[in-house]
């Protein structure tokens, strides 16, 4: 598979690899997986409690080059945004930025899921009203 230059750049020189203390009040952790290819992606954010700005982000992904690049890019993009701004990042933005081919679109979906999951976790911890927790799970697949 021919990777785009941007994918190769993130893959060979990933930004923000690492981990944060998941028990910290200011840290939100998202752990998601793409079963089609067996990838697993962890993305963590550190949020300023006053400004709600994401001051730092870390990731660790086990998967293909596109999954690593998607999560690396995701950490770059969320940094400096407020949690609400970060929620507007769409997988299609990642596809466009990295020129991902159709067979790798699920990697970008995974990265968006990871951002949402990390923000959801942070909101839960900090008692920020999130509709998410009030609702029953929407899909039963995977029971």
């Amino acid at each position: 598979m021919a990777y785009s230059d941007k994918v190769l750049d993130h893959y060979t020189n990933p930004r923000n690899v690492g981990s944060m203390d998941k028990n910290s009040q200011a840290v939100g952790t998202g752990l998601v997986g793409a079963p089609e290819c067996g990838d697993v992606m962890k993305l963590q954010i550190q949020v300023n409690p006053q400004t709600k700005v994401i001051e730092d982000a870390k990731f660790k992904t086990f998967g293909c080059g596109s999954a690593i690049a998607s999560s690396s890019l995701a950490t770059e993009w969320v940094k400096g945004k407020t949690v609400d701004e970060a929620l507007s990042i769409k997988n299609t933005d990642i596809v466009r930025e990295l020129s991902l081919p159709p067979v790798k679109i699920h990697c970008s979906v995974l990265a968006e899921d990871a951002i949402r999951a990390a923000i959801g976790d942070w909101k839960k911890k900090n008692g920020v009203a999130a509709q998410a927790e009030a609702h029953a799970p929407m899909a039963k697949a995977g029971d």
Partner: protein
């Protein structure tokens, strides 16, 4: 070169008579692959692999019988037999031989067979995942991951260990304690994999027990259980593969 195959005797499980059309050559009724009257090879139709073998869409398959049928059909469809037949028959024998190989490879393997059945039943995993993400974006609801969180945690932790072990291996270091731990992990994973296969056989039985005309409300729950299981299994399979790789001297 003779193409006068004898009319097929009725098969017990491979019901080739299930699909009938008029024979292109004699106009009589034919079965899927050869005319029942004149024995002529019939065109390759776009058909699913179960139908190709005259099997119902069921998941418990007698693999030994399937293998016999495969060899029997391989011989009868072999392009060499049609080397001097009319152009269209030669072409059909090529197409059918290739269909036969694909169908056999898929149906003989329990996982490929299950995945294939789900596919022809209209399950599109990636589409579902994307749709769920779209919904989460619009509603602000949390997307439910198809993989249980505990399994994801475990997969993540194991991958961390594997990474360490790989780095050690590269440096030519063999940390005996880590390797011992990995051996234990391999056995755990194997046990888990076996348990998943048992679980899968249970779902096969559920699926096969559904009446032919069972409606969506009965089919979907069984399908969903199989989808979830295949997803979990692909993680376990990858880990088994990776652990074995690390443990190789």
């Amino acid at each position: 070169m003779s193409v006068t195959n004898k009319p097929e005797a009725a098969l017990q499980m491979f019901d080739e008579g299930a699909v009938t059309h008029a024979c292109w050559s004699c106009g009589d009724m034919r079965a899927a692959h050869f005319c029942q009257s004149c024995g002529k090879l019939q065109p390759a139709l776009p058909t699913d692999y179960f139908t190709f073998f005259g099997l119902p869409r069921k998941l418990n398959v007698d693999v030994a019988a399937l293998e016999n049928e495969f060899y029997k059909l391989s011989r009868k469809l072999h392009p060499d037999l049609y080397a001097r037949a009319a152009g269209q028959e030669r072409q059909w024998s090529l197409e059918k031989s290739s269909q036969l190989n694909d169908a056999y490879r898929t149906l003989r393997d329990p996982i490929a067979r299950t995945g294939y059945l789900l596919k022809i039943e209209g399950v599109q995993l990636e589409e579902q995942s994307k749709a769920a993400t779209d919904k989460a974006r619009q509603t602000g609801e949390e997307k439910k991951q198809v993989i249980p969180p505990e399994l994801l945690e475990e997969v993540f932790e194991l991958n961390m260990q594997l990474e360490e072990a790989r780095i050690n291996k590269k440096m030519g270091e063999r940390d005996p304690e880590l390797l011992r731990e990995m051996e234990g992990t391999r056995n755990d994973l194997q046990a888990k994999h076996d348990a998943l296969m048992d679980e899968l056989h249970g779902y096969w039985n559920e699926w096969d027990a559904l009446p032919e005309d069972a409606d969506e409300s009965l089919r979907k729950p069984v399908r969903d259980k199989m989808v979830g299981l295949l997803n979990r299994r692909s993680y376990i399979r990858n880990l088994v593969r990776d652990v074995n790789e690390v443990l190789e001297a």
